[in-house]
């Protein structure tokens, strides 16, 4: 080997070792620091697995799970059908569909005794909640790994309703969260600052007044103050204004104007992964939907294609008129306490045959 080749080989070896140690260290120490953006979810996890009366049913999704599914109601409806369950609401505001597999892995990894038997999953739109501010957050960086990045890239590539430059810009916007994910960027720093400046992050929250992870928006409003109250007031005002203008869109179930067919390959991929995670744990997955956003994923198409085993759709306005009654709404995207109660009852009733078919009760 010539001297020059030896130098190049040495440089190459050193570079490889640098990256190897860099990624190993980042992975090891990065995972040691909890996110400061997911305090509510972490608190719920602690409560779920700290309970003396173990839970066997969980609900995972966004605020439309958190604010809509009341475990106490769900359990009582099923108990009336002689199906004893103990359920917990793990819904977390802002949960994107891409985040769901990450959340499920996090949850089920902690269920060492495999007590969870049913996992209810509600998926938000695949292109929802991906604004620049969120992409820069620690929370997104936690799940935005290579696989998620490639899925996001595929989704953008397939979305021909957006201009090429727009798609390229959106793709570039998704590089920083990937970088933060693989390098564990600022995780220790964020954690440290949260310790020395408690309450610095927006995620500081408490499970007070929650029941099994659920808190209706009406109750949240009743006890809210300061910026939270202002935010809720604004939501109500916006909803009222839009309703008066008749500009409020009720969701994909109510309008056919949004074409989400381009999402199918990525959605199929995502659904398969969710099913694998849940079944790999020995549990059963149940997808459910009552969407408010026009861009919501087409789970019924997935069901027809045989990719989803259990789907409970509450979109049909004829079968579930109360879920399409504006009086039950709190704001444009959520039900209030009464709506949550109604939705949970419908959900539980629809689940009864599924539970029976799977030996969930007598």
């Amino acid at each position: 080997m010539t001297e020059r080749r030896r130098v190049y080989a040495g440089f190459l070896a050193a570079t490889l070792l640098f990256f190897l140690f860099f990624f190993l260290t980042a992975r090891t120490i990065g995972d040691a620091f909890p996110s400061t953006d997911t305090t509510l979810f972490d608190q719920k996890l602690a409560e779920l697995f700290g309970s003396e009366d173990p839970y066997d049913v969980i609900f995972v999704g966004s605020s439309r799970v958190y604010r809509h599914v009341r475990p106490a109601t769900f359990d009582s409806v099923l108990a009336a059908h002689d199906i004893p369950v103990h359920s917990y609401n793990l819904g977390s505001p802002g949960t994107n569909a891409f985040e769901t597999p990450f959340q499920l892995r996090t949850i089920l990894k902690r269920d060492r005794e495999a007590r969870i038997r049913w996992v209810f999953v509600a998926l938000e739109g695949l292109e929802w909640n991906m604004e620049e501010m969120n992409l820069a957050s620690d929370r997104v960086s936690r799940y935005f790994d290579w696989r998620t990045f490639l899925r996001a890239a595929r989704l953008l590539g397939a979305n021909e309703t957006r201009a090429d430059e727009d798609r390229l810009a959106a793709l570039l916007d998704r590089v920083p969260p990937l970088f933060r994910n693989v390098t564990a960027y600022a995780r220790g720093g964020n954690w440290l600052r949260e310790q020395i400046e408690p309450g610095r992050s927006m995620a500081a929250s408490s499970l007070a007044r929650h029941e099994d992870g659920f808190l209706s928006l009406d109750t949240a409003y009743e006890y809210s103050e300061g910026a939270v109250r202002e935010d809720l007031d604004e939501r109500i005002e916006t909803y009222t204004r839009n309703r008066e203008k008749r500009a409020f869109r009720k969701g994909r179930g109510d309008t056919d104007s949004t074409d989400v067919s381009h999402q199918a390959p990525v959605l199929g991929d995502l659904v398969r992964e969710i099913e694998e995670i849940v079944r790999g744990h020995g549990a059963e997955g149940v997808f459910f939907e009552r969407n408010f956003n026009p861009g919501a994923p087409d789970l019924q198409a997935m069901k027809r294609a045989g990719r989803i085993r259990h789907l409970i759709s509450l979109e049909d306005a004829v079968r579930y008129p109360a879920l399409h009654d504006d009086r039950h709404r709190f704001d444009g995207g959520h039900f209030g306490a009464e709506g949550a109660e109604v939705l949970t009852r419908y959900l539980a009733e629809a689940f009864v045959p599924i539970a029976r078919g799977n030996g969930g009760g007598s």
């Binding site: 050193a14 990065g30 995780r187 220790g188 610095r200």
Partner: protein, 467 residues
């Protein structure tokens, strides 16, 4: 563009690659000058005209000063042009409001009616640094310590060289310009020490300073609401913050210049291990203190003459040094406090020497730190009331309020102190330079991951940018 931003790293990677790819010295210098101006323009391109103006002024002044047969009187006139030009620039952009507001306050105190001046002038980043650098060029030629450069490119690069452009170190022309004369060779660059220095600087700025700035700001916004222990915690943290911020920046500046083949002077030499206030000023912001010594203290008469004359020179130097840090009376007072302490130290030192006594080293370090921290209260406080409240709590351990900062911060302070002491002793520095390449690569990989993990998410501007 801040050194700890990723866009700077990308910028620097391009600059470095092109610099070493260029085969000849002149294109390299031209490339570095363009890169430096682009770096500065990333803040505000309009202020490039000030750097260009200062460069052209001192280029012509330098040529005139260097001409054979020029009388001393004529030379004095030419050097005055440089000093007046550069100080005029600095005064106009940095001290205009200070003098105008002070004059206004004085007139109003004397019962005169005076309208506030409405002219608002923005402070150009790094003006305090590059005006001092250009001035030193003309002053050194005037004192015949160096010859004028005939190549304006060399002078422009000396003034605008991006690693030290906005926050120092304040480089001397006679140390930097000769380095531009010959083509730098990549094989001459000692990458390992510069890489370690770069990582150390990055850690100090991005992982330490930026992470504690929030607590410090919170305390100093309302010191009257905190207890005495919180005052001590906040002052200690500010002492750490200002050191890590500024010395971290200097480390990165020296390292980036080093990667390009240029040597910049050391700016900090573990000042918090100083045994006396005099020692501290030999280790803290060395490029500024030596500049003030050479171009202000010594021309004023230095240590020659009687005691009172010496102390007058010292006080003037420190007061102006304080004013250099910012256009506010609190910086002047800060400089004055250091002037007084230096005078006191000299008297005390002589008194001790006459008796053959010495202050034990740990006691000297503790007293120096205690005093330095006390002066920093004035430096940091945003109002005289806040400065008074904090000083009282610091000195008397009185609690003006009931709120408290997290006590866990004491553990952070101790941990940082231990890390600093280990770095001071540097038991591994030589070892790191000797280990085989692959092992070094693994260590750097590990250190980079730790730094990225502990970086603060919100990048805050460097403290010294405003000085």
């Amino acid at each position: 563009m801040i050194f700890t931003e990723f866009r700077f790293l990308a910028f620097f990677a391009v600059v470095l690659a092109v610099h070493w790819a260029l085969p000849r010295n002149r294109p390299r210098k031209l490339w570095l000058l363009l890169a430096s101006y682009a770096f500065y323009a990333a803040w505000d391109w309009r202020f490039l005209s000030l750097i260009l103006g200062s460069t052209v002024l001192d280029y012509f002044v330098g040529r005139k000063l260097d001409e054979e047969g020029r009388s001393d009187r004529a030379r004095k006139r030419w050097v005055s042009l440089s000093v007046v030009g550069n100080l005029g620039l600095l005064s106009a952009f940095k001290y205009f409001h200070f003098f105008a507001d002070s004059a206004l306050a004085l007139l109003q105190a004397l019962g005169f009616h005076a309208d506030p001046l409405t002219l608002r002038i923005i402070l150009p980043v790094g003006i305090s640094f590059y005006t001092f650098q250009t001035m030193s060029y003309s002053l050194d030629i005037y004192r015949r310590k160096m010859r004028a450069t005939h190549d304006i490119l060399d002078l422009a690069l000396f003034v605008g060289f991006f690693p030290q452009l906005v926050a120092g170190p304040i480089v001397r022309a006679r140390e930097f310009i000769p380095q531009l004369a010959r083509r730098r060779a990549l094989s001459d660059v000692r990458f390992r020490p510069y890489l370690l220095l770069f990582l150390a600087g990055f850690f100090k700025k991005a992982c330490v300073s930026d992470n504690i700035v929030g607590v410090v700001d919170r305390y100093f916004a309302d010191p009257s609401s905190y207890d005495a222990l919180s005052t001590w915690i906040a002052v200690l943290l500010y002492t750490i913050q200002i050191y890590c911020d500024f010395s971290g920046y200097s480390d990165i500046a020296i390292a980036t210049a080093g990667f390009l083949g240029y040597t910049l002077c050391e700016n900090f030499a573990f000042p918090y291990f100083s045994g006396s206030i005099q020692d501290l000023w030999r280790r803290w912001h060395i490029s500024l203190s030596s500049w003030l010594r050479d171009y202000l203290y010594i021309p004023l008469g230095g240590s020659k003459g009687g005691k009172l004359f010496r102390y007058r020179n010292l006080m003037l130097t420190m007061l102006l040094g304080g004013l250099w840090h910012g256009a506010a009376w609190r910086f002047v007072i800060w400089g004055g406090l250091h002037g007084v302490s230096l005078v006191f130290h000299r008297e005390f030192h002589e008194w001790m020497e006459r008796r053959g006594w010495r202050v034990p080293s740990p006691a000297g370090i503790a007293i120096t730190m205690w005093w330095f921290m006390l002066t920093l209260i004035c430096f940091r406080s945003e109002s005289w009331t806040n400065a008074y409240t904090t000083t009282r709590a610091y000195l008397l351990f009185e609690s003006p309020g009931a709120r408290s900062l997290p006590r866990e911060l004491l553990a952070v302070i101790v941990l940082l102190g231990v890390m600093h002491a280990i770095a001071y002793r540097a038991p591994f520095r030589g070892l790191l330079e000797r280990v085989p390449g692959p092992v070094f690569a693994m260590i750097v990989g590990l250190a980079t991951a730790v730094i990225l993990t502990f970086m603060a998410t919100d990048v805050t501007p460097f403290i010294y940018f405003q000085f």
